[in-house]
C-alpha cells in the first residue's frame, strides 16, 4: 500500500468523507469559531527541492535514490510541525540521497564512504520520529546528507522456542515482525502507537514504550543482545537473560538515536500469545481520588497490562464517557492462566478509592483479541486512528499535539497543574482557543507517565510557530516540575534544549567521548543528543 509522503501511514487510510465530516463537527463543537478549511498537500513536482550535493560511488549507486518523492518523504518525521511544513511545501533540508542497504555489509560500506567523504548519515527505520530525529537539520558542516533506510533488513532470522526469543533484523515493521512470529505462537507484544509504521531498530534506538502499562513493555527490557554497525567496527553483545558484567553494553546503544551506530539486528524476548483477558472501565467523581486509585494499583504488585487513567476531558473526547473525575481503563492479560483473581483485587482497590464500574468486568478466553464494545474498546479504536486524525486536523489549521513525560507520584499534581496552566497560557498568547487533556500511558510503582493532549484552533500559515510556542511553554513547565523531557519519544533535535539541561554535564562528557571513539568523523545523525 502506498505510503503518504506528507503525513501518517497509508495514503488510502487518510481521514476523508464521513470520518472527516464527523471529526470536523466534533472539533467545531469544542472549538467554536475555528477556521476548519481543509488544506491539501502540494504536488511533489511543485516542491523546489535543492539539488542533491552528492552521488553514491560505485556499487552503492544501485542502493541510492535521488528521486524527489523519496527525498521529500525522508525530509521530515511525523511531528505536527513536520506534517504542517509538508502541507505548506516547506522542505528546507531534504536528504541528498536515500540509500537502501540490502545487507549489513552494505551498511558498513555506506558508513565507510560517508566517514571518508564527510557526509552525514541519518539512520531511518519507519520515519515516525516526532522529535526531529530523522530530519537532516544538521549540526556542523557536511558535504551532504544521506537517509539510510533499513527497510530491506526485514526478516526474523531465528526463533528459539525454549527461551522464547528471536533474532530479528532491525528494519522490520511491527506487523511484518508479528506475522513472522505467529506460526511459532509467539509475540514480541510491543505495540507503540506507531506500531504499523515503525521498526524494531527504531524502537531500540529511541527506547520506545509499548502499549502496556507495566512490566515488559519498554523495548529496553525486551532485548537480549544487539548488533550495531559503528564506523569503528561492528558491536555485538552476548545473548543473555541477565548479566552483571560491567555497565550493560546494550544500554549504551538503547536510546542512542543513531549517533553511535546503526542497529542491524537484535535478539529479543518474546511471549506466548495471550489467551485470557479481563477489562474494566472504572469511573470516578473526583480526579484526585482517581489518581490515588491508580497509584494504589500501580503499587499493588498486580501489574495490570492496562492501567490508563483518562482525565475527564480525555475520557469525554476520546472515549465518549462523561465523568467528573475521569476513567481508569484497567486490563489484565495472560497466556497461562485466567486473570480473574488479579482483576478482582484491582477492582477492590479502585472501589475502595471511590471508583464505580458502570459496566461489569469483561472476562474473555480466546486467542482472538477481545472486541466487545464498551469504553475500553472505543478508546482502543480511537487510539489507532489518532495519528490519521491528527493529520486531518493539522490540515484544517488545528494545532493538535501531545506531550509526554514521567514523574514521581509526589510531583504529579504540581506538574499537571503547571503544564495545564502553561499550555492554556501559551494557547492564549498565540491568539488561539483550545483545550488541554491528560492521560497516563504507563504507570510505575513510583510514578506515572502522563501524556498531555493540546487541541487549539490555529491560523493557517502560523500553526508551526504557534505550536513551537506552546511546545516550548509546556516543555519548560514539565522540566521545571521535575518531569523528563521525554518518556518514550526520544530527544531528537526538537527536545535538545531541555535534554541538555536534564542530563548531567559529566554524563554529556562521557557520551561525547563515546561518540568520538565510535564515530570519529562525526557523521552519524549530527545534532541529535549531542
Amino acid at each position: 500500500m502506498p505510503r503518504s509522503w506528507w503525513g501518517w501511514g497509508n495514503v488510502e487510510d487518510a481521514v476523508d468523507g464521513a470520518e472527516r465530516a464527523a471529526l470536523t463537527a466534533r472539533v467545531a463543537a469544542i472549538l467554536p469559531g475555528a477556521d476548519l478549511t481543509v488544506h491539501r498537500p502540494p504536488a511533489i513536482e511543485s516542491l523546489a527541492l535543492p539539488e542533491p550535493r552528492v552521488a553514491a560511488p560505485g556499487p552503492l549507486a544501485a542502493l541510492a535514490s535521488a528521486d524527489p518523492a523519496d527525498r521529500a518523504a525522508y525530509a521530515h518525521g511525523q511531528a505536527f510541525r513536520d506534517v504542517v511544513r509538508n502541507l505548506l511545501g516547506q522542505i528546507a533540508t531534504p536528504p541528498d540521497l536515500v540509500v537502501r542497504p540490502r545487507t549489513e555489509s552494505d551498511v558498513v560500506d555506506v558508513l565507510d564512504w560517508a566517514s571518508g567523504a564527510n557526509i552525514a548519515v541519518i539512520p531511518f527505520g519507519g520515519g515516525t520520529s516526532v522529535v526531529g530525529g530523522v530530519e537532516p537539520r544538521l549540526d556542523g558542516e557536511f558535504a551532504g546528507a544521506v537517509s539510510l533506510d533499513l527497510g530491506a533488513l526485514d526478516r526474523v532470522l531465528e526463533i528459539d522456542r525454549a527461551s522464547r526469543a528471536a533474532r530479528i533484523q532491525a528494519g522490520v515493521l511491527g506487523p511484518a515482525l508479528e506475522d513472522q512470529l505467529r506460526e511459532a505462537k509467539l509475540t514480541l507484544r510491543h505495540f507503540p502507537q506507531s506500531f504499523e509504521f515503525s521498526t524494531l531498530g527504531g524502537w531500540l534506538a529511541t527506547r520506545a514504550g509499548g502499549h502496556f502499562a507495566t512490566l515488559y513493555t519498554h523495548i529496553d527490557d525486551l532485548v537480549e543482545s544487539m548488533r550495531v554497525v559503528t564506523p569503528a567496527g561492528v558491536s555485538e553483545s552476548r545473548r543473555l537473560p541477565g548479566s552483571g558484567a560491567g555497565p550493560a553494553p546494550d544500554r549504551m546503544f538503547l536510546g542512542s538515536e543513531g549517533i553511535l551506530g546503526v542497529i542491524t539486528e537484535a535478539w529479543v524476548r518474546l511471549q506466548d500469545r495471550p489467551r485470557w483477558r479481563a477489562t474494566a472501565s472504572v469511573h470516578f467523581d473526583d480526579y484526585g481520588r482517581a489518581v490515588a486509585a491508580t497509584r494504589a494499583v500501580a503499587q499493588s504488585g498486580l501489574y495490570p497490562t492496562n492501567c490508563r487513567l483518562l482525565d475527564p476531558a480525555e475520557a469525554f473526547l476520546n472515549a465518549g464517557a462523561a465523568t467528573s473525575g475521569g476513567v481508569l481503563v484497567l486490563g489484565f492479560e495472560s497466556a497461562d492462566h485466567p486473570t480473574r483473581p488479579w482483576m478482582e483485587r484491582a477492582v477492590e482497590i479502585v472501589v475502595e478509592h471511590g471508583g464505580t464500574l458502570p459496566e461489569p468486568v469483561r472476562y474473555t478466553d480466546s486467542d482472538a483479541p477481545a472486541h466487545g464494545g464498551g469504553t475500553a474498546d472505543t478508546w482502543r479504536s480511537s487510539f489507532l486512528r489518532m495519528p490519521y486524525q491528527r493529520d486531518a486536523l493539522a490540515a484544517q489549521s488545528i494545532i493538535t499535539e501531545t506531550f509526554e513525560t514521567a514523574c514521581t507520584w509526589d510531583r504529579f499534581e504540581a506538574l499537571q497543574a503547571a503544564v495545564t496552566t502553561a499550555a492554556n497560557d501559551a494557547i492564549r498568547a498565540v491568539g488561539a482557543t483550545g483545550v488541554v487533556t491528560c492521560r497516563f500511558t504507563h504507570v510505575y510503582p513510583d510514578g506515572p507517565a502522563p501524556y498531555f493532549g493540546v487541541y487549539a484552533a490555529g491560523r493557517w500559515g502560523s500553526t508551526v510557530a504557534q505550536w513551537d510556542e506552546i511546545k516550548t511553554a509546556v516543555s519548560e513547565a514539565l522540566s521545571a516540575e521535575g518531569g523528563t523531557i521525554t518518556h518514550h519519544r526520544a530527544v531528537g533535535r526538537d527536545h535538545r534544549p531541555w535534554y541538555d539541561r536534564q542530563r548531567s554535564e559529566p554524563f554529556a562528557l562521557a557520551l561525547r567521548a563515546a561518540k568520538s571513539a565510535l564515530d570519529p568523523a562525526g557523521i552519524l545523525n549530527p545534532g541529535v543528543l549531542l
Copy 2:
C-alpha cells in the same frame, strides 16, 4: 561488633565449637581422606606489610589511616583466594592508606588530591567483593594507592512515602539501611547474600542481584537516580520512574565498579513490607523435568519471589533433601493480597511436570518473616551461614567456591554439562577430590542464572593455585557455552580475561573513552573492567 580482618563478617560469628565439629564431620563424609587440620590466621603484627608510600595532605590527614590493621583488612576482598591469602599472611599489595570521607565534599577533595598526585583510588563499600574488585593490584604505575571507605555516608536522607522512594547515602550497610526505613513501613527488599556487610554504593557499582528470583530484585531496577563524584565533576541524574531521554545515564554508572566515579547517593525504589507469603518445596525424580518445570513457572507470568532449583547434590548438601531430580523452592510474597491463587497455579504447573510436594504449601499472613521449618527454611538458614562456613573450610584446606552465570534456556543443559565436566576434570588435574553442585539463583523468562558450587579437598599452601586452575577451567567452559562471566558478582580484576572476550571491541572503545573523559588522570580503580 568487631569485623574479621581476614575473613567474612563479625569476629564473634565465625564458625567454631559444635558448628565446626558438625561441618568437619559432614565434609569428612563427603570428601573422605581430606586433611581437615584447622589453620589459624596470623597476628596482624606479624604481617610484613610494605611501608606506606604516601601521606594524606592537610585536612585529609584527619580522614586517613595507615594502621596496619586497616591496611591488612582493606588489602583483599572476600573471595576464597582472598581469605586463604590472608590466612597465609600473603598480603602483597595493601593500600598505602585507608581514607574515610565524612562528606561528599571530602570525596571530591580526595579525588582532586589523588588526580594531581597520581595516586590510585579504590572506592570501598563493605569490601565484600569476590572478584578482586577492591584489591590494590593495579594496572599502571602509581605513586600510591588509597582505599576510599564510604562507610560514614550511612544515612537515609529523605523518604517520599507517596512514590515509595528514598534518598540514601551510598556507604550504608544493608541492615542499617533497612532499620532506617522500618518506621515508614517500607523496605528496599534487596537482599544479596552479602547483605549484612555490603553497601548500597557497592550494590550499585557492581549491579548486585538481590535474593528474589524475579522482577524487582536487581539493584539496577531499583534506582531512580544517582549522584556520582567523578574527577570531572559531580553527576546527578534526575529522579524519574521512567525515561526515554537518550541512553540511560544511570546505566553507565551501574556496574562501573568504581572506574568512572564514586557513587555517593541514590534515590531508590522501595516497597511495602510483605505480609502474605506462600512457600513450597517441590521434589523431582528427574532433573530434566525439574528444569522444564522451572522454565514453565518462569514463563508463566506469575513472577514468584523464590524459584530456586537445587540439583540433587545441592538439595542434599544444603537442604538435607534426598531426591534423584532435585528440589524447587517456590515462594510468593505480597504486601497487598494473599498469594494463594498465584501459588496454586504454580503448583499446577510443577505437578504437570512431575513435581511432588512432600509437605503441603505453607501460607502465612504476618508482618514477621515466616520461619516454620521445612526444606525452604533449612535452606534459608544455611544460606546466611554459607560465607562463614566457607571461611572455616578454607582454613581446613577445603577449596570451596561458587561460580555464577546466566544463559538462555536453550543453552543450559550443555552449559551445565560442560561446567560440571570442566570442574571435575580440573579438580582431578590439581590432585584433589571433590563434588560439583548447581542451583538457580534467579530465573528469567528467557533463561536461568545457574550457580555452581565446587567443594574439593586441597593441599594446604596450594589451595589458591588449585582454586585458580579450577576457576579458569570453569570460566572457560561457561564462557564457551554462551554464559556470562558474571551474573551478579561483577568483573573486578579476577574476571578480566573472560570479560574482555565477552564484550565487543566497540563497546570497550566507548567505555575507555568515557573513562578518559571522566577520569583523565586514570586514578579510579585501575585494572578493573579496562
